[in-house]
Structure formats: C-alpha cells, structure tokens
C-alpha cells in the first residue's frame, strides 16, 4: 500500500478505487491495531470440549482470573483446531450469568428457595445419608444375604470426569447403595 494520508488509506476510498473489499481493502488502521484476546491471556489451559463425545481439544485462556476466551486446539489430531457451535460457545457456558454459585435449600412443603452455606448443607446431606441408610437397610432379601439399601439412589450425567465416577461408585458401593445409574443407560 502506498504511503499517504489517512484518507487515502480509508477503506471506503480504497474500495471505491476498485480494490477488493473482501481482502486487504477491508482493513483499516483500527483493524491493524486490534490484537486477539488470546495474546493477552495470563495463562492457557489445555482442555477438552464438555459437550459431545468427539472430544475436541480446547485452549482455555484466562486473564485477570476470568476466562477470556476458549478456542479450538490446533494440535488435536481429533479436531485440528475446529469447534462446532456448542464448543465455540463454551466460554458462555462457564461465564453466563445464569450460573448458580450459591447453595440453595427448599424445606419440605416450602414455597421458596432459602440460602444455606455449603458446610451446613454438606453436614445435613451426610446426616440424611446415614439416617436413610440405617432406616432402609436390607441384610437379607428372599432368604439371601444382600447387605444393601434400596432407600438411596443416584443418577449421574455423562459429562462427569472418570475420576468423579470412580469415587461415586466406590462410595455408593461401600454404603450398599445399588441403584446407581447414569445417562449412559438412557
């Protein structure tokens, strides 16, 4: 591009002069000054898309303690840097305002949510597991030893980590809870 005043570099003028508006002539000084958000990130984590089981690679950019961008990972031999609409929108998944960050509690017959702090909720849940397990314990069933409870059940989604599923199955089994199920059945 020839040197000249800002007017001659103004994209409109260049395009009027016949340069292709879909190529360089679309660029302005402002465009040239723009830098991708990813460049300024403090850290980048190598991650995986949480939606479907293709398992596209993601790069998660963090700036000032917040996710600033999520991009496809070009190194991935599965996805080669591509993400579909869901994967591309996953920055919103982790940052959207509808995400809950507080524990909520609905008491029996209650009409509204109430606040509960996390520690209290954990204690209350542990109390209920211990109590329900005791109350519904089956040592035998139809004359056979079963050592279980049918009073406690679990259903997990299939975007949980393997390590999470492992601790879930381990704990439930040790407690004798057998109705432990997953989206994988559905």
């Amino acid at each position: 591009m020839a040197d000249g005043g800002w007017i001659s570099r103004w994209p409109v003028i260049r395009q009027l002069k016949g340069e292709d508006g879909r190529r360089d002539a679309a660029r302005s000084a402002r465009t040239d000054a723009l830098r991708p958000r990813t460049e300024e990130a403090d850290t980048v984590a190598r991650s995986v898309c949480p939606y479907c089981a293709v398992g596209c690679g993601q790069l998660v950019y963090v700036k000032d303690g917040k996710v600033s961008q999520i991009e496809g990972d070009p190194g991935s031999p599965i996805s080669r840097g591509r993400l579909c609409p869901k994967g591309s929108a996953s920055k919103q998944l982790v940052t959207h305002p509808g995400r809950q960050t507080q524990v909520l509690y609905r008491r029996p017959y209650g009409t509204e949510w109430e606040r509960l702090d996390l520690e209290t909720a954990m204690d209350m849940i542990a109390d209920r597991v211990v109590r329900t397990r005791r109350e519904t314990w089956q040592e035998t069933h139809e004359g056979k030893e079963v050592r279980r409870t049918l009073g406690i059940a679990g259903l997990g989604g299939a975007t949980l980590d393997n390590e999470e599923n492992y601790l879930m199955k381990k704990l439930y089994t040790a407690l004798g809870a057998i109705q432990v199920e997953n989206q994988a059945r559905i």
Binding site: V48, K86, V94, R99, R106, A121, N162, M168, Q179, I186
Partner: protein, 825 residues
C-alpha cells in the same frame, strides 16, 4: 453425525473427498443427509429388516469374505440340537417362558455346552460379556453342516428380502440394491466399509439386536479389526464412554465386571466360576476383580476374607433408572442424588420422573444451573394441571452449584475410548465445587458418623485418603487416576493389565484403564500435536486398553499374520523379530505367533490360537451367533416397536417378546394398532443444543440459534391435519400432549409401507420449562412411554406413535381431559 458430532464428521468428509461413498439412512433428513451421496429415509423402528436383508444378500450371493469368516468368526461352529429358531417357532426362539416373558437360553448353546448354561441372561444377571462357551467347540470347516452357524444364519435371514425392506422400511428395491452393491463392493481384502450409529439404533425395545445385526454384517464382510472398518458408536456426551467403563451403572463394577447377584453368587470362588469362561482374557477375571477389591479395601482385603467380596452389595433384579423411579413413586426410594443430569426433561415419561421426585424425603441436585429436576416443586407442569401442589410436596431439596469443565482437572473418555486429561484453568466461583470434591468430602463426613456396627464396616474400612489441594481442599484427581491405574507390590504404578495378579499383590481400580499412569506419568495428558506424529496419533491422550486405537486389530492381518493387502496394512507379524508390529499397539499377545496352537487344558489367553483375534471371547472368534449373554435371542429378529402403526409381517410376534414393560397407571401405553395414534413419532437432536438443554438453553448464542421447539412434518401431513408452517401443533400420546411450532418441509418424506402412506413426526427434545433457560418449551420426552430393551434396559425413545392436532395444547384440567379422551376415546 454432521448434526450431532459435527467436528468428528470432518473425517467422513475427508474420506468422501478421497472417494468414499456416504449413505445416510435415517427417518429424519439432517445436515448429514444434505452432504451424503445418498439419503435413504427409513421408517423408525425397522432397521433390523434392512440389516437382515443386507445379511441375506451377502449370504445368498456368497459375497462374504470367506477366508476371514472361516478363520475369525464362529461360522463353522455347531449349535445344540435343542436350538429352535424363529423360523421354527414363528417369531420365538426356543426356551421362552410365556409366564415370565423371559428366555432360558440353555438351548442356544454350542453343541456340547448345553448343560453349563442354564441361567437366563439379562442386564441384571450378567456383565457386558455374558457367560462363556467352549474354547474349541465342534465345528464344520466346510460350512455345510445344517447346524453350523453359517447355515443357521442362512435359514434365519432368508425371509429378510428386498421386498420386505420395501414393505416394512419404506425403502424401494432399487435403493436397497444400490446400498447392497456399495457395501459389498467396498469390503474385502482391499477395501473396508464402516457403519456409524447412535441412539437411533439403541433406543428401541430391541436395540441391542440392532447393533448385533450390524456386527453380523461387518463380520461377514471382514470389516472388523481393520482400518476403515468397524462399527462406530457415536456417543452424545463428553465422557459417556467413561461412564460405562468406570460405571455409575447398577449392574457393573469398573471394567465391565458384573455386580454380584444374590441368587447367583455365594462367595468369590462361586462368583468367578459363574461369571464367564476360563478361556480368553476374561479367564483372568480373578486378577481384575481381586485387584479392584484391593484398591477399595486395601489391607483389610485378604485371601482369608475373600478380599472383602462380601462387602459388595447384592443385586436381586432390575435396579435400573426406570425401576428406581417406580420405587420413588412407590415410596421405597427415599433419597436421590442427581449429579449433572436432568431426568425431569431428559428421561422418558417425564411425568413419572417428576411424580417420583415429589415423593422423596430428600433430593440433592448438583449442576451449573437450576435445572428442572431441582425446581419441579416450583414450576413443574403438574402444578399447572393440578396433579401436584407445591405446598403438598414434602421433598427436601438441596441444590449445590457445580464447577465447570475448566474449573477442575480430570479425564474424559471420548467416543473412541480415548482418555484426555483436562488441565484446570481457574478456581470455581463462590460455592461451586467439582463432583470429585463433593463425593470425597461427603464420604469423609459420612465416615465420621459411622459406628462400629457390622453394616458400617465396608464404609469404615474403605480406602479414602487422597491428597488435598488448595483453599477448598480439593482431592487430587491425579491421585484418583493413579488409583484407577493401579499399583504393584512395590507401590509403583502398573503399566499394563497383564501385570495384574490373582493373589492380592496388585491393586487396580479399573483393569481396562491400567496403563493410563504407566511409568508414573499421566499418559492421558499427552499432547503431541497431530501434525508431528503418524496418522494413528498414538501420542495424543491414551486409549484403553493399552493405548490401542483399533480393537481386535489382529484381524487386520490374515491368518498367517500378513496384511490382507498393502492398502489395508495395519498390524502384522514380524517373523524375524518374533513379534506383532504395525501402526498401532497390537491387540494381541505380542509374541504369540500366528501358528500357535493352544495345548490341552490351557487357560485364559493361552487357550486362544495364533489365529484368534477376538481375545475377549472364550473361543477367540467374532460371534455371528451368540450362544449366551443375550436375553432376547442368539440372533436379531425384527420386532415392531411396542407402539407401532404397522403389523409385523415377518413373524406372528408383533413386538419383542422379552421386552420390559411397566404396566402402571403413571405409564399408560398407546393401544397397539390404535387408529387414534396413526403417526410414527421419533425424537432427535440439533447441532446448537445439547440433550436436555441444561448446558445449551442458558447460552445466549445457542438459544438465539435455535430458539424454539418445533416439529418437522411433510407438506402432505400438514395438509391432512391442517398444519401451517410457523403455526402451532399439538402432539398427543397416552402420556401427555405438548405443543410445538410447525416446520413444514419436504425434507420429511412420507413413506409407503404395507401399501399405505406412513407419516413420521420428528421432534428435537432440548427444551424444558425452566432450567435457567433463555428459551423454554414443552418437554418432548414427556410424550414417551417407559418400555425397555431387555438386555440393557434402555428405553424405546426412537420409535413410538402419536396423534397430531392443529393449534396449541389446552391448559390445566382441559389438558388432562384431552389425554383421557385419547387414551380411551
């Protein structure tokens, strides 16, 4: 695939650019159909007819890959004299008990095995593999014996003709011929054909047999264990494969080891005796199970106490998802954890789900947003109809916010069995925590509350020490992964499941994942860029088992160990080095030569010959015919969906005789053949949303791209019912009625089936009434009944019947009146 697994579909497009021909067979025209070479619309629920006809075409024209079939499948094996086929019994196999609707499969056995297998199979009595069969059953290598598997197959599939495909699937003979020609021309030494399926094949009352039919076809054509071949299950969630490998499923322990059953298993020795054959890799099941028990109960697990085998609770029947919901309605299930799941929207018959939730003592929901399952007491549809009242619902509800995938570390297992480690990008906000944190700290709290009572012993003695990290005392996910991998007597990480011992000297939380932490390195975190390694890309992540990318890849070489062809070379025998080698990790004993013959009395892998690629099977063969392990027959047979407008003209049995139904007031069925429900109904997904919508409806971009529930109908159906494009329709079943915007499109083609026109209604099911969604809509799964495949207890979501009315649905009591009218009217 282009619609629901878009980035994976790039490889199909690459293959197409290189000359592959792509057929798309689906009731619904999707983004895949748009770019396929041929789109074949099919009536939902009729795929076994199509697959059966392809099998028949291959068999009757002798188009099968004879050398492969003879060496690698059970085609030559002789079956018991007692076996009777659907041909003999008009749609039933031998062993059916009309009282219990269950089969006694003992007559399906190989000749000579009849006595050893007398137990009925089913999801609650077997693991993934079923019981075993002989390693060397009698056979006829000429394939002429009338009781050899190939001849049984020929007779069984003879009635699956192109005319039947025309009559039941709505696929005309010329289209069938094109498909049959393409798959047979593209199979053999030089070429392979792959089949790709998803829940369109599994969510049926005969779903497991859909996959079986595909397996038979692929084995006959020599397409298993070879590059470009196989049957690819496209799974819908980031780690749904992992959730079956390390299952939160009632009937399984990690690594597809069956949960013990009260009536089948007394002690460890008895369990091991009952649970499969001694030959093939399952012959090592004692090592797998004992190592698991050791990793759960550590030093408390000793030879003298059966390694705490008694600590495992026992099954007595169906304890699956839907049985659990019925238990909630009946009041036996009191407490319920729902973790990253939304059954109020995502499961069949949502009303039954919500009635179950409303009858609990307590409910814990953990998710990113307030999903409908957490808020049913506040805004569920049953409040509008008056069936429930908030003030009457006693359920105590805890909602705990979850950490997202970037706020925790851990592995997902993708649809190719590939484990990929995610690094943590940042800490979660507020009270959000990972599920790992939740279960670890819940376990600690529960253990603090235990006494010295005997019933508490398994939880008290459980190994539950993981290093805690950071401000929130998060347990180390790497420590958990290392426990899953397992350790040897020296406490070092094991590198392969072949190192597992039966004597309690090794520990391993999931034997098929053993090696993911080999050399004390997190192998799932490997990230060698694809451009810097071979096309198999073995250094990106880690695939179970043993980082093998194609299972049973011994079959990619001929019986002598040479590649079937240069084009399709993958794994081969290197005679000089005396080992298997190739592009992938061989799925075979590295040093077992092709001419190895097992000595008499050999066990486990030693009992398989050098030409037996299917090493998990007791005879090392690909099973064209399944002598044990299935609950509804050793061969696929076409049965109509539980709700179908079409008569099964293949057999005198309309639907799968062994299917599971729940005949209860909460779960009414559309009467069979009812003129009130004339249309076929099926559900689907869209690129822009994710299953029950909790992870997509609340995102502005995605909500804007697909803002509203709609039903796709053909112009002919629109004219018949009086529907207007962009207007409203009400879709009715015996469960409920919902409303949706109408999309009239020629993409939906009415099919000619049994000389009548069959209309299909297709609906995506991503919407719900709340869930923090920016867009809301009626719940499509509320229309579905609970009727299950008897092998795996998956619900029939992909083929039902419905009525369609123009306009919006009625509200309140008027809605209940409408359903009542349709149910009985």
């Amino acid at each position: 695939m282009a619609e629901c697994h878009p980035v994976g579909f790039q490889w199909v497009m690459e293959a197409r650019l290189r000359g592959a021909k792509v057929f798309h067979i689906d009731p619904r025209f999707s983004r895949t159909s748009a770019v396929a070479d041929r789109y074949l619309p099919i009536r939902a629920g009729s795929d076994i007819v199509l697959l059966g006809a392809l099998i028949n075409h291959v068999l009757s024209n002798e188009l099968y890959f004879r050398e492969y079939v003879l060496a690698y499948t059970n085609a030559a094996t002789l079956v018991s004299k007692r076996f009777q086929d659907t041909e003999d019994l008009d749609g039933l196999f031998s062993g059916f008990d009309p009282e219990t609707h269950r089969y006694d499969p003992s007559s399906w056995a190989y000749e000579g095995d009849e006595e050893s297998e007398a137990e009925a199979a089913g999801a609650d009595s077997y693991g993934a593999r079923g019981a075993g069969a002989s390693a060397r059953p009698p056979s006829d290598p000429t394939l002429r014996h009338p009781r050899c598997v190939l001849q049984i197959l020929k007779r069984h599939f003879a009635r699956y003709t192109p005319e039947m495909v025309d009559e039941l699937c709505g696929i005309p003979p010329e289209d069938f011929a094109e498909l049959a020609e393409a798959i047979t021309a593209n199979s053999g030494r030089e070429r392979t054909t792959a089949w790709v399926y998803s829940v369109g094949w599994t969510q049926h009352s005969v779903g497991a047999q859909y996959i079986r039919a595909s397996a038979i076809l692929q084995l006959l054509l020599g397409n298993m264990g070879r590059p470009g071949g196989g049957i690819m299950a496209l799974r819908g969630h980031a780690s749904i494969q992992g959730s079956t490998d390390i299952p939160t499923l009632f009937n399984l322990l990690p690594g597809y080891i069956a949960m013990p059953h009260a009536h089948r298993h007394e002690d460890l020795a008895h369990y091991l005796e009952m649970e499969g054959a001694d030959t093939g890799y399952w012959g090592n099941r004692r090592s797998y199970l004992v190592s698991l028990l050791k990793s759960w109960w550590g030093d408390a697990a000793t030879e003298d106490n059966d390694f705490c085998f008694d600590y495992l609770p026992r099954l007595t029947g169906d304890h699956g998802h839907y049985a659990t919901v019925m238990g909630q309605i009946d009041g036996t299930v009191k407490g319920y954890f729902v973790i990253g799941e939304n059954p109020a929207v995502g499961s069949a018959n949502g009303k039954a789900q919500r009635l179950g939730l409303a009858n609990l003592d307590w409910l814990v929901v953990r998710d990113l947003t307030l999903v409908e399952t957490a808020t049913f007491w506040k805004d569920g549809p049953e409040l509008e109809t008056g069936e429930l009242r908030t003030g009457d619902i006693a359920t105590e509800v805890f909602f705990l916010p979850a950490a997202s995938h970037v706020e925790k570390e851990g592995t997902f297992t993708n649809t190719q069995r590939l484990l990929q480690w995610r690094e943590k990008a940042l800490d979660p906000l507020g009270e959000c925590r990972s599920d790992l944190w939740f279960y670890y700290h819940l376990g600690k709290r529960i253990r603090q509350r235990l006494g010295d009572d005997e019933i508490d012993r398994p939880a008290r003695e459980l190994t539950w020490d993981y290093p805690e990290m950071g401000e929130h005392r998060d347990p180390s996910a790497e420590a958990v992964l290392r426990e899953i991998n397992g350790t040897g007597p020296d406490g070092r990480a094991l590198s392969s499941y072949r190192e597992l011992a039966p004597d309690g000297s090794t520990r391993c939380g999931c034997w098929i994942y053993c090696g993911v932490y080999a050399d004390e390195v997190n192998q799932a975190a490997r990230r060698e860029p694809g451009s810097r390694q071979s096309w198999v890309a073995p250094e990106w992540g880690w695939a179970w088992p043993a980082n093998r990318r194609i299972l049973y890849n011994r079959a990619s070489a001929d019986p002598d160990g040479r590649p079937w062809s240069e084009r399709k070379a993958y794994i081969w025998w290197d005679a000089e080095k005396g080992e298997w080698t190739g592009h992938d990790v061989p799925d075979f004993d590295l040093r077992k030569p092709p001419d190895y013959e097992p000595p008499d009395g050999a066990r486990a892998e030693a009992a398989l010959a050098g030409t037996d690629p299917f090493i998990m099977q007791s005879d090392g063969k690909g099973w064209l015919y399944v002598p044990s392990g299935l609950s509804d027959g050793p061969l696929p047979a076409h049965y109509e969906p539980h709700e179908s407008p079409v008569l099964n003209t293949l057999y005198g049995r309309q639907s799968n005789p062994a299917r599971r139904t729940y005949d209860r007031p909460e779960n009414p069925y559309n009467p069979p053949g009812s003129a009130r429900f004339p249309y076929v109904f099926t559900t689907s997904r869209l690129t822009e949303h994710h299953t029950a919508g909790a992870m997509s409806r609340s995102l502005a971009y995605l909500a804007e791209l697909q803002p509203e529930l709609f039903c796709e109908v053909s112009p002919q159906l629109a004219a018949e019912v009086g529907l207007v494009n962009g207007g409203w329709a009400t879709i009715v079943t015996s469960r409920t009625a919902i409303e949706a915007r109408v999309l009239v499109t020629e993409r939906v083609r009415p099919l000619r089936v049994q000389r009548q026109i069959i209309h299909q209604v297709v609906m995506p099911y991503h919407w719900g009434y709340g869930g923090g969604g920016l867009v809301t809509g009626d719940i499509v799964n509320d229309l579905l009944p609970v009727v299950l495949d008897p092998n795996v207890y998956i619900q029939e979501s992909k083929a039902g019947t419905c009525a369609v009315l123009p306009g919006r649905r009625p509200r309140g009591q008027a809605l209940l009146d409408l359903i009542e009218e349709y149910r009985h009217g």
